[in-house]
């Protein structure tokens, strides 16, 4: 019998005292909207304290419960296992600001463990769980939140580095409201927030994603979302201040102890049960390759389903949890160079965590944001359609789940036994969560907004790939197009071909086209827009025009930007043109 099956009463949370305020109404339609006078209520400190207490008692109960099972892990083994993972981490993670403190703590645990009685081991375990939760918990300050959201629009760069705001402001900064375009099923998202508790799941390419989505949530009139941000985002003091006050809690991805992951997951679960909307990046980390993430991390996602079952057990009047996928679409990606480098070096091997990249370098961020102004480029946030924790579509009007033929589904039946009692069955629930993951991945593809840089990069990459088809990909990345370039007329013709294929797919609701150059369908204008973007910001221009030819100066970045259009079978569309070239 799985552990969860024993625990309905234990895992039953207390009834909530807090409900998010009704969301503000107001149409967006791509226009920036004014700021709310009142401070949207994010998860407040008292509520956080309650969540922490709940998480501690649940995780501790679970530890005790499983230790009593015949093949369960005895408490001292559990402590030892956690100790082992933490000491291993501390060997490598010497830069951690709390390194010395951590070492002292775990040394203490180690010296005590050998001669501890059972109650003492239990106390030690409580201490460990307490330490993990304390670190995870953030600190919400409503006043600061108000300041943050007012300053945020003009201070996007400030968020990302520790430069003096005065110096930054003197150089002309973009207003985020002009820079971020919000579109898609915004009404659906608002409605889901009224009918139940929302988990917003955006695509993840950049450290800019957090402030951008944070601002979008604010601009849509929604309360601040709870989300787990990587510790590296807190290492920058200004960023840290804002992150903690935008509803973020801290996640240390270097910590591999299973107990730590349990604590994290339970924190998300409890906050959902308390009615707090959550923000998960289901990719887990920034996508390195530039592709739209299709393999998602399901660990955190499963807390949505667990919270739903707990809500049923405590008979909440709004038990439903809704997952709303959304895509963040950039013409240029701040950290593209580091990300693709990492991807190419480590493809097929274990990923590592980038601690130092463009997003920690003040000058890069400044250049990046100034380009946003100069090019009038927009970051598009596209809100997708809601789904339930089982991966079914949800009717945005009623909040009811529907099958592929639009027939409504009683989703309680998925998790109740024949007598109608809700049950936790972790193995079953993993399968449901995998289904939800697939549905999110499909929504990502569907709500991807294609921009000019990606379209042109894709066309040129495929062209070069075909021209040098005898080379393997890594060789092509090194040698590039050997200085011969590609004639503009040829490229325009091919861009048009890819555009037509994209347009066809957009008609069939398989993706979206960006409202500017791409939607115009004017291939020359698409190419010109891409050239303008690619000529700026990156260390070397991705593409440059010389005379009537276009040259690629950075094959890795070309590959990176082209990858966003993988997964739509576009590759075959260019084949007829390649054939006629050979003839």
């Amino acid at each position: 019998m799985p552990i969860g099956g024993h625990l309905p009463a234990l895992f039953a949370p207390r009834p909530p005292v807090y409900r998010p305020g009704a969301p503000r109404s107001g149409s967006l339609h791509g226009r920036p909207i004014g700021f709310a006078k009142e401070v949207p209520r994010a998860m407040q400190n008292t509520l956080r304290d309650r969540a922490i207490v709940e998480v501690r008692s649940r995780v501790l109960e679970a530890c005790l419960m499983q230790s009593r099972l015949e093949d369960g892990m005895p408490l001292d083994v559990l402590v030892n296992d956690t100790l082992y993972h933490e000491r291993k981490r501390l060997e490598i993670d010497r830069k951690s600001p709390t390194w010395a403190e951590d070492v002292a703590f775990w040394d203490g645990i180690k010296s005590r463990l050998g001669r501890s009685s059972e109650p003492e081991v239990k106390a030690t375990l409580e201490q460990i769980i307490g330490r993990f939760t304390e670190e995870i918990r953030g600190n919400f300050n409503p006043t600061l939140y108000g300041v943050a959201t007012r300053v945020l629009p003009r201070a996007l760069p400030v968020l990302l580095n520790a430069m003096s705001p005065k110096r930054l402001l003197s150089r002309g900064l973009p207003d985020i409201a002009d820079t971020v375009q919000i579109q898609g099923n915004v009404e659906g998202l608002r409605r889901m927030n009224e009918l139940g508790t929302v988990i917003l799941t955006p695509t993840h390419v950049s450290n800019l994603d957090s402030p951008v989505i944070g601002w979008a949530i604010y601009a849509m009139g929604l309360p601040a979302f709870t989300y787990g941000a990587g510790l590296n985002l807190f290492s920058n003091p200004v960023m840290s201040l804002f992150m903690r006050n935008l509803g973020a809690y801290r996640v240390d991805r270097q910590k591999t102890a299973p107990l730590y992951k349990d604590v994290l997951k339970e924190y998300a679960t409890v906050s959902l049960e308390l009615g707090e909307p959550n923000l998960f990046f289901p990719a887990g980390t920034r996508v390195r390759s530039g592709k739209i993430e299709q393999k998602l991390k399901l660990g955190l996602l499963s807390s949505g389903l667990r919270a739903y079952v707990n809500n049923l057990l405590t008979k909440k009047d709004k038990p439903n949890i809704y997952i709303v996928p959304c895509t963040l679409n950039y013409h240029l990606v701040l950290e593209a160079e580091s990300l693709i480098e990492d991807h190419l070096q480590r493809e097929g091997k274990a990923k590592y965590i980038i601690l130092d990249d463009e997003s920690t370098r003040a000058r890069k961020i400044l250049n990046f944001t100034q380009n946003l102004v100069n090019l009038e480029a927009r970051i598009t946030v596209h809100i997708g359609d809601p789904i339930d924790p089982f991966g079914n579509q949800v009717d945005p009007a009623t909040g009811e789940s529907v099958d592929r033929h639009g027939r409504s589904i009683d989703i309680r039946r998925y998790v109740t036994d024949r007598q109608g009692t809700p049950t936790h069955l972790p193995q079953r629930d993993r399968v449901y969560t995998a289904d939800a993951g697939q549905a999110i991945a499909a929504e990502f593809l569907k709500h991807n907004v294609v921009v000019a840089t990606q379209l042109v990069a894709f066309t040129l990459w495929e062209t070069l790939r075909h021209r040098h088809r005898e080379l393997d990909m890594y060789r092509l990345l090194r040698t590039g197009d050997e200085g011969s370039g590609t004639a503009i007329t040829t490229l325009v013709q091919r861009v048009l071909k890819v555009y037509e294929a994209l347009h066809d797919r957009a008609q069939r609701h398989l993706l979206h086209l960006e409202a500017g150059a791409v939607q115009s369908g004017d291939a020359a204008r698409i190419l010109e827009t891409a050239l303008r973007h690619f000529g700026t910001y990156h260390t070397r221009p991705v593409l440059v025009r010389r005379g009537d030819r276009v040259f690629c100066e950075d094959m890795k970045l070309l590959n990176y930007y082209s990858n966003r259009l993988r997964g739509y079978s576009l590759e075959k569309e260019l084949e007829p043109l390649f054939k006629s070239e050979v003839a």
Partner: protein, 373 residues
Amino acid sequence: MAPSTPPASLGNGKAATAVVLGGGSWGTALAHLMAVAGVKVQLWMRSDDRVAEINEQHTNSRYLKDKKIHERVVATSDLRSAASFAETIIVAIPSANFRAVAFELGEVVSGDQILLSATKGFEAENLTRMSQILREETCCRKIGAISGPNLADEVMDNHPTATVIASPMEEVIEKAGLLLAGPTLRVYGNHDLVGVEVMGALKNIIAIAAGVCAGMGYGQNSLAMLLTRGLTEISRFGEALGADKLTALGLAGLGDLVATCASPLSRNNTLGRKLASGMTLTQAQADSIKVAEGVNTTFAATKHASRLGVDMPITRAVHALLFEEMKPIDVLTRLMSRANRYEHTEVPIDAPRMVDGSVVDTALSVAARARGW
């Protein structure tokens, strides 16, 4: 006929129940099998005449001649009442009608019910598996498949055998296992739903080839070659679709392949024999009321093999036989005259290969070959 046993229970004191959709030979045999083990079974089919025959005479003469069906099997043509009769529903409908029935089923089931496909085949267009159709057409998620060396006639005669219940969800395997396991059937579980379904479907192609082989009068050597190389190519196809390699060597792979290819009872095998005797596909099909799933599967697999980058020489040969009006002897000649290859890598024996690791070794090997050494 096995002696009557009291109704089984699933541990909660209530009698165990199950529903089977499809009154063909396999659907009927499954219903009978569970009934023998004590489960109350409703068997759904469209034909009222056959419903009456099963309920009154306890036979299904169209598919199973005079074999007696257990009295605990109750036939019905009312899908709604059948669907509410039990938690677990086994769907044994030919692949061509599978989606239509699944859609109707979608109107009457709820999310707590378990659906199992007992059909071995694909939808040709997108290579859709039967469990995927159940997922697409209903709200159910507790979905799995049954497959293995289970020839319907032998099951009806209570010959001992084993079957695989595949599902990513252990709850499905556990509950279906309780219903199906009995004195003549052992149940094995497998998480690899893709592999179990793909093997179950693809082995029918090899079964047709085996029938042709036997029909041409060839003996055990030829059959063994066909089975072994056949298993290799279908397992490669399965892997390309995400199946586990080991599934091909299990009951749903090798087990089912051996049963289907060795038995003259198998419809795909029978079809192969007819083709060997000179009949065309149309003539051979007109000769039998039972659907040979292998025909449909050969078409689907051939269509998708090149997209998946899988070389399937035997499947191509069967395709040529079925749809391109090639003569068996010509197909055989073509197969036998393929380049000789290494068994695991498929590299032609006489093709020059790079020597890994050392440029000098590579240069020397190439030079040696050039001189004919």
